[in-house]
């Protein structure tokens, strides 16, 4: 296994300076029959090398579109993108597809939600792994196959030498997701985008896959963007969390800081509406009334205002900018009445109530 790994170049420590990814005022708009839909609306963030960022949001929040935009993977026929995505030295927004293809699979890779649909059903596992190796490295057929087997064993697939000949349908759901992770890791990318990688999986398998991802991430010094709807998935496995709502990042902070002193009512509402095993049974959940706004006709003020218990007239008319918390400059939130300041005293965080 060790000699296969040596053929893959790991980034050396000298390279590890400056952010890996700089997203600035990214706006992704789809043209739909009903009108144009802005799925990602002015998103900015940076991601350091080897850092793990969780992106949390409900369906329609734009989290998946954001992940695909970062990679430049959205179909161009009905999508327009503005802003800037700087990956290392390369600008992704507006780049030629040939430029992107050199990055795809080699430097940025993606793990999709459902391995049943993201693996080609009629192509053997072997070729699905080796094709990017053959494309991005100088490996020959035999070396690529040996690497594929080694990757399968790294992601915890038993008897990898036989499994490499299998078709996806011959594997269980958990094994399939391990295969997609092996495919994504094949060329040792600097950035892994994992879009709901455990959503369809059972709890025990989910734990296995999440553990696998974090151990691979630290072993390879790889940055990870973990996209999920589940605050539980990101709580213990990320350095930072960005919460998305209606195409905006509404709060972003280090994971510890976010859970300890969240400022955005939406983040709190999301947390409070999540049932937990640490609560006694029949604990009344604090649900969020209503539903997310229509992104074709978004509300003029804060997008969460119609569902927010603290909303004021200002919230309904004026969109809050993303601003920093006074105590912690890395903590950003977009709210006129944040929990800590405007509602201090009357509101405690969900954690404080337990």
């Amino acid at each position: 296994m060790s000699n296969e790994q040596s053929s893959i170049a790991f980034p050396s420590t000298e390279e590890l300076s400056g952010p890996l990814l700089r997203v600035k005022d990214l706006r992704t708009t789809f043209s739909t029959p009903r009108g144009s839909l802005t799925a990602v609306d002015g998103v900015s963030f940076e991601l350091g090398r080897g850092e793990t960022l969780g992106i949390v949001g409900e369906s329609g929040s734009g989290k998946t579109v954001l992940a695909r935009s970062v990679m430049g993977l959205l179909p161009r026929s009905n999508t327009t993108q503005t802003g800037s995505i700087l990956f290392e030295e390369t600008e992704i927004v507006g780049a030629q597809e040939a430029t992107l293809r050199e990055i795809w699979g080699a430097k940025i890779a993606m793990v999709f939600q459902d391995p049943m649909t993201s693996l080609n059903p009629v192509v053997r596992i072997q070729r699905q792994i080796t094709e990017s190796l053959r494309l991005h490295t100088s490996m020959d057929r035999a070396e690529a196959k040996a690497t594929a087997i080694s990757l399968l064993s790294q992601v915890g697939i038993p008897s990898p030498a036989e499994r490499v000949r299998a078709y996806p349908f011959q594997l269980s759901g958990g094994m399939r997701q391990r295969v997609t992770i092996a495919i994504a890791l094949a060329c040792s990318p600097r950035l892994l985008l994992a879009d709901e990688p455990t959503t369809g999986l059972d709890v025990t398998v989910q734990a296995q896959i999440l553990d696998l991802l974090s151990s691979l991430q630290s072993a390879r010094q790889m940055a990870v963007i973990l996209v999920t709807h589940d605050l539980g998935v990101v709580a213990t496995r990320t350095d930072r969390i960005a919460v998305m709502y209606a195409g905006h990042i509404v709060e972003m902070a280090s994971t510890k800081r976010l859970f300890a002193s969240m400022a955005m009512p939406y983040t709190q509402a999301l947390l409070r509406s999540t049932p937990r095993i640490s609560q006694p049974s029949h604990t009344r959940l604090i649900a969020i009334d209503g539903r997310p706004p229509d992104l074709i006709n978004p509300p003029s003020g804060c997008a969460f205002a119609p569902r927010c218990t603290y909303a004021t007239d200002q919230c309904r008319s004026e969109r809050p900018p993303l601003r920093t918390a006074p105590e912690d400059p890395t903590h950003l939130f977009a709210c006129w009445n944040p929990l800590q300041t405007g509602n201090a005293g009357s509101i405690t965080t969900a954690k404080g109530e337990n």
Binding site: V203, Q208, F259, T274, R276, S281, T283, L285, A287, K351
Partner: protein, 322 residues
């Protein structure tokens, strides 16, 4: 709920087998449990454990291979077609996918009224009044929602419509199969709260089937854990989550992710995946993945037995409370 009262729903030695080619898959391999009036029994387990099949066999969408299902002392199994249909008005099921379980060509009013129309229990104003009441009970505005079609509603609203339809005949028992799994967290909380309210309002008895352990704990009075067609452990919710006695329950609970960065991430993570139900392990079905399996586990099937009041476990070597 006390031990003296007779259970409202009683499942006795239920088995369900499917033929898969020439092989026989025993999806449910002899399970028994009781649900008392006004109680919610949660049924959890991983995919393929037979929890959904159990729910479907109770309402006989799936034909049980053997065993009995009794509702208020009346046998549901063995009933003829007509009798079964009548009996089904007292036991209703709600499914995971709210959108595809509603007829897209019918208006909400007619969808909700469907059971009434089948049984011709009510007509005209009375029928309309009942539909109004049901829609209001599930939090939909009858004036706005009634004349629309399912496609005009979000997933959460469609689930409200299917709840209204299930409740229109005033059933005693409601079987909920993964009813919130397809919904977003915020909508899921709305529906879970709604279920709690309706249960209190109409005196419902629930079997709540789901894979999400936190969701099950939230709504259930008692929880039954299933693995590969058998019950591992049945106990009051708070007991089961605080003091799980079966190694499988322990493994499941340790794998749950909590939205709390302070919670340690070290797991008793199970290795591997459940074996095939076509050829299940002898003795205890969990023994192939069990950290504390011994020889006896291979030879002897552990029966469900009481280790504490109302706490049953099917394990030869359960973790007993201190």
């Amino acid at each position: 709920m006390s031990a003296e009262t007779a259970p409202l729903l009683s499942v006795k030695d239920l088995t369900v087998s499917f033929k898969k080619g020439r092989q026989v898959v025993q999806a449910v391999a002899g399970i028994s449990f009781d649900v008392y009036e006004g109680e919610t029994l949660g049924l959890v387990g991983e995919s393929g454990c037979g929890k959904s099949t159990t729910g479907r066999a109770i309402v006989r969408i799936e034909e049980p291979t053997s065993g009995e299902v009794l509702v208020a002392g009346k046998r549901l199994t063995g009933l003829g077609r007509g009798e079964l249909r009548r009996a089904r008005t007292s036991i209703q099921m709600i499914f995971q996918d709210p959108v595809s379980s509603l007829n897209p060509r019918r208006r909400v009013n007619d969808i909700v009224a469907e059971p009434i129309d089948i049984w011709k229990t009510e007509t005209g104003d009375q029928r309309a009044a009942t539909v109004r009441e049901m829609l209001e009970a599930v939090g939909l505005d009858p004036d706005v929602a009634g004349d629309r079609y399912p496609r005009e509603f979000s997933g959460g609203q469609c689930q409200r419509i299917s709840i209204a339809r299930a409740l229109v005949m005033k059933p005693k028992v409601l079987i909920c199969d993964e009813m919130v799994s397809a919904l977003d967290v915020s909508v899921q909380a709305q529906i879970l709260n709604l279920v709690e309210d309706l249960k209190a309002k109409y005196g419902l008895t629930l079997v709540f089937i789901a894979h999400d352990l936190a969701v099950v704990k939230n709504v259930s009075d008692r929880v039954a854990v299933m693995y590969l067609g058998r019950l591992c452990e049945v106990a009051p919710s708070d007991d089961l989550y605080a003091l799980p006695a079966h190694p499988y329950t322990q493994a499941l609970l340790s794998a749950v992710v909590e939205p709390d960065p302070e919670k340690a991430t070290s797991h008793v993570t199970l290795t591997g995946e459940p074996p095939s139900p076509i050829n299940p392990p002898s003795g205890c079905r969990f023994r192939t993945r069990c950290p504390s399996a011994q020889e006896r586990c291979a030879s002897e099937v552990p029966e469900l037995r009481e280790i504490a009041p109302r706490h049953q476990v099917a394990c030869h070597f359960p973790t007993l409370r201190p």
